[in-house]
Every structure is written in C-alpha cells, then in structure tokens.
C-alpha cells in the first residue's frame, strides 16, 4: 500500500464563543484508506468536516491536502481541489431531478452538458438510483436522499470523500447496500473518511478509527483496538457496550 498522505489535520481548533468544538486535533489520512470518525453526539465530528471543507475557518491550526495548505479556502475551492463531502442533514436540490442534482456535481469537472450528463448517469447507476433518475429529489425517501447525497459528491470526482452519517435513518437492508457501496467506492481508489454511529457498519468498512470526545481525539487505531480502549468505552460506548463485550 502506498503510504502517501492525502489529508493532514494539524492542531486543528475552533471555538464557538466559549465552546471549543474541535480541540487541537491532529489526524492524518493516507491514500486509499477508509477512516472512521466516531464519538458521542456533539463531540465535534461534523465540525471537523466543516473545517476541512471550508465551511468553517479554524481558530487555530491547519488543513493540509496533498501537501498543500488549504486552510481558509472557500468551500467551492476545496471541492475543486478534490475533497467531496456529504451533509448529515441532506441537502437535495428539491426541484431538480436526481440526474440533474448529480450533474451539478459533475459540472465542477466539465462545462460540457453532454459529458456532464454522462458522468452523472454513471454515478447515479453506481449508487443504485438508476431507476429513479428522473424523479424529483424532493420526492425521494430518506434512504434515497442519502444515496443522492453520496452521488452528488462522487460526481465531483473527489480524491477524498467525507461521509457524514450516510447510514443514519436507513433500514437494515439499506445499510447493507450502502456499506457495499462505500466499500466499492473505496476500492475504486477514493479515500474515505466517514462519520458514523452505526458501529458495526463502520467496522466493516474502516481499517482505522478515530474517536472524538468533547472536541478532543481520545483514541485512534484499528476497530479492534479502539473498541478495547477503556477510555473509549467510558466516553462513547458506555456501560451497556462494556457489559455486552465482556
């Protein structure tokens, strides 16, 4: 495996008033990896994505992408550099069809509508929305909206894809399908960082997991290591999990 670093977060910190939502976070992601970012509600996971993707400017620290400092770049620039993201609260373009939604992402790589339609059609097919490509996005079920969210980001041809709880709200069959989809995306060479509460699924996909609590990284390692970590068990998994493990 090539050990080239794709994403490097250095001492990344952001304050909201008195609240330190992300606190001195150091984290690297290598090319081709699938990294899980977990932690309790309000731990700062989404905020990390917002910092990487340019929606928030850090109070301190840097975001380095492919050896280039991209701290403070606008979201559209970050996207064009090759970082795709989805939103925990999905953001479909309601009055556009599924295909048109995905084309918006495709246009970041080509100006040509025909070519863009082609890219989008492939991506739509890949995420399993082929039969619904002409449906209006506002009429999709939550499961399909999550898929659409992934498809839009994929169409921007990212080097790295940031997935924010794309499994939340799905039924078990849909979770399995999405897990396969994410694995497939990863296998195609796209590096993945995913925020997830569904632990089983995270472990099925990720070779490394980073645990956040109150904005701080409290653990990092393979799924097995992380779930054995007493600090993690205390902070995130809680007593229930501890008892089931033992």
């Amino acid at each position: 495996m090539v050990q080239e670093t794709v994403l490097d977060l250095r001492d990344l910190t952001i304050n909201f008033g008195g609240l330190v939502a992300v606190d001195s976070l150091n984290m690297t992601v290598k090319k081709g990896e699938a990294v899980g970012l977990i932690g309790p509600n309000g731990a700062g996971k989404t905020t990390v994505f917002n910092l990487i993707s340019g929606f928030y400017k850090p109070t301190r620290g840097d975001v380095v992408f492919m050896n280039e400092k991209i701290t403070g770049l606008a979201p559209y620039d970050v996207c064009r550099k090759g970082i795709g993201r989805t939103f925990q609260i999905v953001k479909p373009f309601g009055k556009m069809t599924v295909l048109e939604n995905v084309m918006v992402g495709g246009f970041s790589r080509t100006r040509n509508p025909q070519e863009c339609r082609q890219i989008a059609a492939e991506v739509v097919e890949m995420v399993g929305l082929g039969s619904k490509k002409d449906a209006l996005a506002k009429n999709l079920t939550i499961g399909d909206r999550k898929r659409l969210e992934v498809a839009k980001a994929l169409a921007t041809r990212p080097e790295i894809l940031l997935l924010d709880e794309v499994l939340a709200g799905l039924n078990p069959t849909e979770v399995d399908e999405s897990v396969e989809l994410i694995k497939e995306i990863n296998a195609s060479g796209i590096t993945i960082v995913m925020i997830e509460h569904v632990l089983q699924a995270t472990m099925a996909i990720c070779n490394r997991i980073v645990v956040l609590d109150y904005g701080k990284k409290i653990a990092e390692g393979t799924p097995a290591e992380v779930t054995q970590d007493p600090e993690v068990i205390k902070a995130y998994l809680g007593d229930e999990y501890e008892t089931t493990v033992n």
Partner: protein, 345 residues
C-alpha cells in the same frame, strides 16, 4: 400526422404556428392602439423574462429591477439628446452602465439571505427614484427631474429607432422577446442554469459541489440587468418620454416580478405567458373599467394576481402546460430535460 410526431417536434410545430400568427397580426389589426397594446404585451413578457434570470432561475427576489431599466434608458436617452448618439449604439452604454450598477449592488447584497436581499433592492431603487426626481441636470446633461425627460423627436429615422408608425416597434419587441426566450432556454441547458437552480434550492449544498455562489449570482444579476436595461431603452424609444416613477419606480419593479411569478418563475415560458396574458388583461380591464372608478382596474388586476398566487403558486404555466400536453397527446415518458425546468419550450 401530429400523433406520430415526437414531443419535441410537436413543440416546434406549435411554436412555428404561434410565431406565424405573431408576425401576421399587425397586418390584420391595423389600429395603432391595438398595435401599441400588443407591443406592450411583448415588452412586458420580455421584461418579466429578464427579471426571471436572477429572480426565477437563481431565486433572488429582486424588487428593484427598475434600477436597470432606468439606468439603461436614462444613459441612452441622454447620449441621444445631448450628443445625437443613436440609441442603437447608445444602448450598449446604457446596458453596460446597468451591468456595472448590478455588480456594485450585487457585491455587498448577494451575501445576504432571503428577505434582506429583497429589502435592499427596494431601498436602493426607491432611493434612485428620489434621485431622478430631484436632479434636473448632472454636469450640464439634462435629466429633467420629476417632470421627466423627453426623447428628442427627429421624425422617421430607423437608424435612431424612431418610427412614425407603431408597427416597427411591434416587430422589434417581437425579436427581443424571441432572443430572450432563446437566452433563457440556453441558460436552462447550460452549466450556468444548473448552478443557478442549485444555489436557489440550497446554497450550502451548491457550495459543497464547487459552485462559487456569489460569483454565479453576480453573473446572473449582470445578465438580467443587461436584458432589463435593453427593455428599458426600448420602452423609452417607444413612449419617447422618461418619467422617474414609470421607468424606475415600484410600477416597473414590481410589475416585472408579478408577471414572472404569476406566469411561473424559474421556467422559460412562464414569464412570457404571464407577461402577455396579464398585460393584456390589465389593458382590457382598464379599457372597460378605467373610466368608472379611478383605480378600479388596478384593484381587479391585483385581485387576479393574489388569487393566482394563492391557488396556482406554480404559475399559469402549470395550467397551460397541463392542457397543452393533453391537447397535443404528449407521450408521458418523454420528459423534456433542463435545469429544473419542467416547462420545456
């Protein structure tokens, strides 16, 4: 025969027939009053379409497009009155000035969301009206203040866009309308159109997909201002008189918005249909009722607009399209595709 045609070809056929009728109308209706009313219908359809670029596709509720019609018109008329520059050339200065103004206004205001943008456009356009009304001259150039500015009459001079007959104006308005329909259609099929609808539907979602939201809004705003200015200039040439309230005031600004929204904002043909239909209705009401009670025609007109907005928020285009599809036996699965534009042509 029609049965076996594709939807696309049916559209072409209907468009051809409508166009033919539009071209032939002046030969049948020869009263100048009728021609004038029809010309105004085309102009309103044009202006609503101009507004629609930024107000409809991009969803930025500008309530101050009178700024651009008036800047375009004043600049062009002043250049003509004072220096004898033909409006055919002057319009590029007029429309260029409007584009500049749109950028100056857009830079600080396009960052604002929702109602704040709308409110700032109202404030700026109302301020501009007051400015026009209180400025007799600037640097020796006559603006005319509240009395307004008369376009110098030089008789039948096609190269200066002056005609004694009403008919040439009608055809110019028709060509302008065709051009802006073409432009709108191009927008819906291009990247710009997709970007505009995307940022209208969700700004953050659009940003995350590589869209420079502010820049895209500025482009749409400039395009819209350019087209609106050309409309204002045509209006000045047609009426030969610029009055601040009429060219820059709420009458102009809100009318453009009403026509587009009632017709169907964000679609290619909605503002066109809205513009023609409502301008016609308003003229008919005025013709028959205007003499009875002052302002009654405005009241009835307002009522129609309100009822439309309540009961058909998607605009007249939805109704028209529904019956059109039935009438033409459209095949259902053949969906016209474009950036969120369900109307097609």
């Amino acid at each position: 025969m029609v049965k076996n045609m594709t939807n696309e070809n049916k559209n072409r056929l209907v468009a051809g027939i409508v166009l033919l009728i539009a071209v032939l109308i002046p030969l049948v209706l020869d009263k100048p009053y009728y021609i004038h009313v029809l010309t105004m219908c085309l102009l309103w359809a044009y202006l609503a379409s101009a507004w629609n670029i930024v107000g409809g596709f991009a969803g930025q509720l500008s309530l101050g497009h009178g700024i651009y019609t008036s800047v375009g018109a004043y600049v062009t008329v002043i250049l003509f009155n004072e220096f004898g520059l033909s409006p055919l050339l002057g319009m590029f200065f007029g429309a260029g000035a409007a584009v500049l103004v749109s950028l100056i206004i857009g830079l600080p205001t396009f960052g604002l969301r929702g109602a704040y943008y709308a409110l700032s456009t109202v404030a700026i356009s109302e301020g501009l009206v007051v400015l026009y009304e209180n400025t007799m001259t600037i640097g020796g150039l006559r603006l005319g203040g509240a009395e307004g500015l008369i376009v110098k009459l030089i008789g039948d001079a096609p190269l200066h866009l002056q005609f004694t007959s009403k008919i040439p104006y009608y055809y110019i308005a028709l060509v302008m309308l065709l051009l802006i329909i073409g432009l709108s259609k191009w927008i819906t099929k291009s990247r710009l159109g997709y970007y505009l609808v995307a940022l209208r539907e969700d700004e953050d979602g659009a940003r995350a997909l590589g869209i420079d939201v502010r820049r895209t809004k500025l482009i749409a705003g400039a395009l819209s201002a350019f087209c609106a200015a050309i409309g204002g200039i045509f209006y000045a040439m047609l009426i030969r008189y610029l009055e601040p309230q009429a060219i820059a005031g709420a009458a102009m600004s809100t009318q453009m918005v009403f026509l587009a929204i009632v017709g169907g904002a964000g679609t290619v043909m909605g503002p066109v249909i809205g513009g023609i239909l409502l301008a016609l209705i308003s003229e008919i009401i005025r013709f028959y009722l205007g003499g009875y009670v002052m302002g009654l025609h405005l009241f009835i007109y307002g009522l129609i607009v309100v009822l439309m907005i309540i009961y058909k928020p998607g605009g007249i285009i939805e109704v028209v399209e529904h019956y059109y599809r039935r009438l033409m036996n459209f095949r259902d699965r053949e969906v016209a595709s474009g950036a969120g534009d369900s109307s097609g042509s």
